[in-house]
């Protein structure tokens, strides 16, 4: 995109994509982005999640939050399922974030992470 006038086209494309997703159950992904998260590397995680979700049109909304409270385990990614269930992934990096999207959102399996 080179100028703001291109936004019209982007809007139309986005509307089409969002309507394609409708009917699918929506997941919500929350990334902790306080000082602790940022220092531990939450930015590449958020970028990976947003880029990957856009590329594959996963039914997710990615949001940010402040400190979740376990700074030593940052970057933390919380996945809220359509039934209100919550899964917390800790010590995430960009690679793991993409795996979480593929396994959890794509295939519906909770991915267990070993340290």
């Amino acid at each position: 995109m080179k100028s703001l006038s291109d936004l019209q086209r982007i809007r139309d494309e986005a509307k089409k994509r969002v309507s394609m997703r409708e009917g699918n159950q929506e997941y919500r992904i929350v990334v902790g982005m306080a000082t602790c998260g940022i220092a531990a590397g939450a930015r590449p995680v958020l970028t990976a999640l947003v880029e990957e979700a856009a590329k594959n049109n996963y039914p997710v909304t990615v949001t940010q939050t402040g400190c979740i409270g376990m700074c030593t385990l940052e970057p933390i990614v919380e996945v809220f399922g359509p039934q209100g269930d919550k899964t917390t992934y800790v010590l995430v990096d960009a690679k793991k974030a993409i795996e979480i999207l593929e396994e959890h959102i794509g295939k519906g399996k909770v991915k267990s992470v070993t340290f």
């Binding site: 995109m1 100028s3 936004l7 986005a14 930015r43 880029e51 940010q64 402040g66 400190c67």
Partner: protein
């Protein structure tokens, strides 16, 4: 530790969001002739009383309940003082809270800018309901990114937070500021090779 100024900016903007501001202005500046660079973050959130303002640079002070210390501002102050710069914070509750961070541009320890477009996207993403203005002021080159303009052009606030739209907006911001930043990074490389 924050390795880049872009990370510091994101961190300070998160403070403003938590302070329930509905308008945040970020000025990013770099002036070669005055040999300074840095940024200011201004918001109209809850602000701080004078007694809190005194304590805010103490790493073992925080108002949050999830942990017992707050490092964002102390770390930024440390970066500023380490790089022959200035740091200040002033506050009038619900009117204007301002954080000013200045560094000596040619100082060895001044962190690189980092990915400013990414920081813009993350701030915009974390602050869906308010107005976010980014002023980039690089010598003679000025770029203003106003979230209201973008939202008006798209015409749908919610759509702005769709992942694919966010990425395109980030690339748009990157296109606006990259020419300058590229020049800047060449200078940093030259500076380091000159020292070694």
């Amino acid at each position: 530790m924050m390795q880049e100024l872009a990370m510091h900016i994101l961190d300070i903007v998160h403070n403003s969001i938590r302070a329930e501001a509905n308008s945040i202005t970020v000025n990013v500046f770099c002036k070669k002739n005055e040999d300074i660079c840095g940024f200011t973050v201004i918001d109209n959130g809850i602000g701080m009383r004078a007694d809190v303002l005194d304590k805010v640079l103490d790493p073992f002070f925080t108002t949050r309940t999830t942990r017992k210390f707050g490092l964002g501002l102390p770390l930024l102050k440390m970066t500023c003082t380490m790089c022959d710069g200035e740091f200040s914070i002033t506050s009038t509750p619900w009117q204007k809270t301002e954080v000013i961070a200045k560094m000596k541009r040619s100082h060895m320890d001044t962190p690189p800018w980092g990915d400013l477009a990414q920081t813009w996207m993350e701030c915009f993403h974390a602050f869906p309901l308010g107005r976010l203005i980014f002023n980039f002021d690089f010598d003679d080159q000025k770029v203003v990114i106003d979230s209201d303009e973008i939202i008006n052009a798209i015409g749908d606030r919610e759509l702005c937070h769709d992942s694919a739209v966010l990425i395109q907006l980030r690339d748009y911001v990157a296109d606006q500021i990259t020419p300058y930043l590229r020049e800047e990074s060449y200078e940093i490389i030259e500076r380091f090779t000159a020292h070694s």
